[in-house]
């Protein structure tokens, strides 16, 4: 069976990136995670020929080289890449960041909780929502095996 399309995580902070990866693992998400540490790396990756397009992009905003907003502008100007839904995961509560990113067509804007349990609950909602969109798959849990 073919594996589901990957989730692209664009995040410069190593700790934050591993927290997201841990949460996806804890939620038994089957989609592989591809992690890029800034907008430049992400756009280079996305423009490589023959890659499996990500099902979803999880995007931080404050990053070196190319920021999240600049990366969004590039994605939304590209006829192939503009169809990938982008969810912003950030610590920024600035109204201007919300306005700018929704104007650029993001499909969600989630402020990262510091506490892991709260963050995991938020990621669970994100994963269930994109699951209903047919983009995220989860491992089936064998209840008997867990007992």
């Amino acid at each position: 069976m073919r594996s589901p399309n990957p989730i692209l995580l664009v995040e410069d902070d190593v700790v934050d990136a591993s927290t997201v990866k841990q949460a996806l693992e804890d939620l038994r998400v089957k989609n592989p995670v591809i992690h890029k540490t800034d907008g430049e790396e992400a756009i280079e990756y996305l423009r490589e020929q023959g890659i499996q397009l990500p099902a979803l992009i999880l995007l931080d905003l404050n990053m070196p080289k190319i920021s999240g907003v600049e990366l969004l502008q590039m994605l939304k100007a590209d006829t192939l890449l503009q169809r990938i839904p982008v969810v912003v995961l950030t610590v920024s509560k600035y109204e201007q960041d919300k306005v700018d990113t929704f104007d650029l067509g993001v499909a969600g804007y989630v402020i990262k909780a510091v506490d892991y349990d709260a963050f995991l609950r938020a990621m669970d909602i994100i994963i269930q929502y994109w699951g209903y969109n047919g983009l995220i798959e989860k491992e089936r849990v064998n209840e008997h095996a867990r007992l």
Binding site: K98, V99, A107, G108, Y109, A122, I126, Y132, N133
Partner: protein, 155 residues
């Protein structure tokens, strides 16, 4: 939903619209539901400045007069309206519809389960997601749009 603004529903089928209304009620979602029967009516609602801007738009695709895709083309090209998240609720499993609407920056494409309880489960997650997600302030004109107008006037 995160704020108390209305939810705008574009749905031509009365039974389907009633199902959405009932699901929101069963989930204790208190946002007012504004229903319009097609894209043209939806657009008229959004462009009437006396109406509250919705927090989200839920739309069907197959509708008379102006269908969902035509509606999205207009809304997503309008600087005052484009930031309102639009979520497709459809029975269409057509991949072309999915690609085309995501290219038009929809914030979700949910194939409606036929079973009512499953539909309520889906709407529950839609509500949780759009309560978790921040929403932009859709009442303010965009600073960018203002700047563009200003420079166009100067030119």
């Amino acid at each position: 939903m995160r704020d108390s603004k209305p939810i705008l529903l574009l749905e031509d089928d009365t039974v389907d619209a009633m199902t959405v209304k009932r699901a929101l009620k069963d989930l204790n979602i208190t946002n007012p539901l504004v229903r319009t029967g097609n894209g043209e009516e939806g657009l008229a609602y959004l462009r009437d400045e006396n109406n509250a801007r919705p927090c989200v738009i839920l739309l069907d695709l197959n509708m008379p007069k102006m269908n969902g895709i035509e509606f999205l083309r207009v809304v997503k090209a309008d600087d005052k309206l484009k930031r309102i998240p639009a979520i497709v609720l459809t029975t269409s499993k057509d991949d072309q519809d999915r690609v085309q609407t995501f290219q038009l920056n929809v914030a979700g494409f949910i194939v409606k389960p036929v079973d009512y309880m499953k539909f309520v489960d889906a709407m529950k997650i839609v509500n949780l997601y759009w309560t978790l997600s921040e929403l932009p302030n859709s009442d303010q004109e965009t600073a960018n749009a203002k700047l563009e107008t200003d420079s166009a006037c100067r030119g």
